[in-house]
């Protein structure tokens, strides 16, 4: 089975990763938040693909304890010691990361900020999308689809994380613009599928006539989707991430839409900008991904598995 041999190979190679086969080419350190969220996996794959196509390589750093701020700061120390040529970083906490960025600046290593905009430090560029705007647009799509009235439930992410807060804010602002819609419940399911399913089951008992469900990510949306269909509910549901499973669900009509928050392009562009900067080519100070709400009508370009996707060419990157 290819998966097993891949795993065995990865373990062996991983243990001897000190001397990679890349002879020339810059080494970009890519720091992401955790192993668990497919968004960051997409970001890592994107960065690796972009670097490979530009004859460089990436070193991936992910905290062993998901979303550990301390560990990410330690990894910055270690990356500086290792003298990476450039750093592409998605900070776990955009405020607490600042001392780490200052250390990177002091070590004269160029840094590119992706995903969550750090509140301090010098960066070559920032590539991101806006959790708040994506959530607001996705919610607006759902609220329009339910005809602007009815009961709505929100499934929140992990309390204490920036993404969860920003998305909740986006949902609430969208709700404020539809006065005939009532928010009957807003409960956390911690971005997890099982919790979302159980929370949705429970909430349906108190609110059986819910018309729409806003989930802060696709994993929760799909968990809730199963609970809804079992209860025979006709509620519409949206998620955020644009994951493959969500695309399939949108295709089959079980899910209404998903906010495009896919890290693949961010990873590609982040690595591309880091390398271009090292090679003294021109780079934009900021790249903002367009906020797209993926629905049945526009899902074709998203319906490709991660391995098969290609990084955009430099001309395709929107520069601001």
């Amino acid at each position: 089975m290819t998966r097993v041999s891949t795993m065995a190979l990865a373990l062996v190679l991983g243990a001897f990763a000190a001397h990679s086969a890349v002879a020339d080419g810059e080494k970009i350190a890519v720091l992401t938040k955790n192993q668990t969220n497919p968004f960051f996996q997409a970001e890592r794959v994107g960065a690796a693909k972009a670097a490979e196509s530009m004859h460089a390589s990436v070193l991936q750093y992910v905290p062993t304890q998901a979303d550990s701020i301390s560990e990410q700061l330690s990894q910055i120390d270690d990356v500086i010691t290792k003298k990476a040529d450039a750093i592409v970083i998605a900070p776990v906490d955009y405020k607490a990361i600042v001392p780490g960025i200052q250390k990177i600046n002091a070590a004269k290593i160029p840094a590119v900020n992706v995903t969550d905009r750090s509140s301090g430090g010098d960066f070559v560029s920032f590539i991101g999308a806006d959790d708040y705007t994506i959530a607001k647009k996705t919610a607006a799509a759902l609220l329009k689809a339910i005809g602007g009235k009815g009961e709505v439930i929100v499934l929140e992410g992990v309390r204490g994380t920036a993404t969860a807060q920003d998305r909740l804010r986006g949902f609430k602002e969208a709700l404020a613009e539809f006065p005939d819609v009532r928010l009957v419940a807003s409960q956390p399911a911690n971005y997890q599928r099982l919790q979302a399913m159980q929370v949705m089951e429970n909430l349906l008992q108190a609110n059986p006539n819910v018309a729409g469900v806003l989930a802060a990510n696709d994993t929760m949306a799909i968990g809730a989707m199963d609970a809804l269909s079992e209860a025979g509910s006709k509620a519409l549901i949206t998620g955020i991430n644009g994951s493959k499973e969500a695309i399939d669900a949108i295709k089959s009509g079980k899910m209404l839409a998903s906010g495009d928050y896919n890290g693949f392009v961010q990873g590609c562009v982040g690595a591309m900008i880091a390398l271009r900067y090292l090679r003294h080519e021109e780079v934009p100070k900021q790249v903002t991904q367009p906020t797209v709400v993926i629905t049945k009508d526009n899902l074709a370009p998203y319906d490709v598995p991660l391995d098969g996707r290609q990084c955009p060419s430099w001309d395709q990157v929107p520069k601001s």
Partner: protein, 319 residues
């Protein structure tokens, strides 16, 4: 101090189960008073089904705790088992092969844990903690951030189906509860397991093959985790590498609320069942009552401590 006339005449374990059932009833009455949605058949069936998954994980763990051990690796075992079994089901298009894989992984992990604890005499906390990290790393490597999803509907009956209007997992839970209780209380092996925790010296001196029994309980815990992985797959129709991290502490909490002691020798599957139910009811109640997310950890913590305290009060009254 709680005194109930006549209670002292029942055997000790029955008294404790009765106390815990009383606690459960109090919780239930409270929730029905506070929320009109609580007492419906659908809601109660949901709660039972949610509790079933928790019970499957905690059942094997109960036996481990009876020997004064602990298994911190169950969450990661479920994650790895579900991911690999899920992939097998999809690739080989065979639910039976997937089931064998999940149980095989669970059993193998249990065997390794058991050998570390009994043969290498590594403390259970440490051995299973180390195993947790190893399994989690394997799961991350294996899945590479992907999700495996979309299983045949026949297989999904295990999680979603109904038998005589009762969810399948609940029926299986009842069966497991019955079989497990008979094993623990009426078979020689079960009695030996309890003795290993209650009085290890006496167990050894009376000829109990301690090492073999220890390996057995960890294998059973691993198998239970493997089975839980299958139920998870069937219910959630998917698996990812990180599904286990939020499952371990609730499983241990269920066992402890159920009256088991980490020092061994005390505990029943019936107690664990009630512990799982209490924890599930708390979450159900918090959702129905729209308790703000920030306060949920506090509520859960308070209930856990209160439940154990009540149980201990009942115990101490008797002695």
């Amino acid at each position: 101090m709680i005194r109930v006339p006549g209670l002292n005449r029942l055997p000790p374990e029955a008294t404790r189960v009765a106390m815990r059932l009383a606690a459960l009833l109090v919780l239930g009455v409270l929730l029905s008073a506070l929320s009109s949605a609580f007492l419906s058949t659908v809601n109660l069936m949901n709660v039972l089904r949610q509790a079933a998954l928790l019970f499957f994980m905690s059942s094997g763990l109960t036996l481990v705790v009876l020997t004064a051990g602990l298994d911190l690796s169950i969450g990661a075992t479920i994650a790895l088992g579900a991911c690999v079994a899920g992939t097998v089901i999809k690739n080989a298009d065979s639910a039976w092969l997937g089931a064998a894989t999940a149980l095989g992984i669970g059993g193998a992990v249990g065997l390794l844990n058991g050998m570390m604890v009994s043969l290498l005499r590594i403390p259970a906390f440490i051995a299973t903690y180390g195993m947790l990290w190893v399994l989690q790393g394997l799961a991350y490597t294996y899945m590479a951030g992907n999700t495996v999803y979309g299983f045949p509907s026949g297989f999904r009956q295990l999680g979603n189906g109904y038998l005589l209007h009762v969810p399948t997992p609940v029926i299986v839970m009842a069966a497991l509860l019955a079989i497990g209780t008979v094993f623990a209380q009426r078979t020689v092996w079960g009695q030996q397991i309890v003795m290993i925790g209650a009085n290890p010296v006496a167990a050894r001196l009376s000829g109990v093959p301690v090492k073999r029994r220890l390996i057995l309980v960890y294998v059973l815990s691993g198998l239970a985790a493997g089975f839980a992985a299958l139920v998870y797959l069937a219910r959630l129709n998917s698996a990812e590498a990180d599904i286990g991290s939020s499952l371990t502490l609730p499983a241990i909490a269920a066992v402890l609320i159920g009256g088991a002691s980490l020092f061994g020798g005390v505990g029943t599957l019936a107690g664990t069942f009630i512990g799982a139910l209490i924890l599930t009811l708390v979450l159900n109640g918090m959702n129905l009552l729209h308790v703000d997310g920030n306060w949920q950890p506090l509520v859960t913590g308070v209930i856990i401590v209160a439940a154990v305290w009540l149980d201990l009060q009942g115990q101490r009254t008797r002695s």
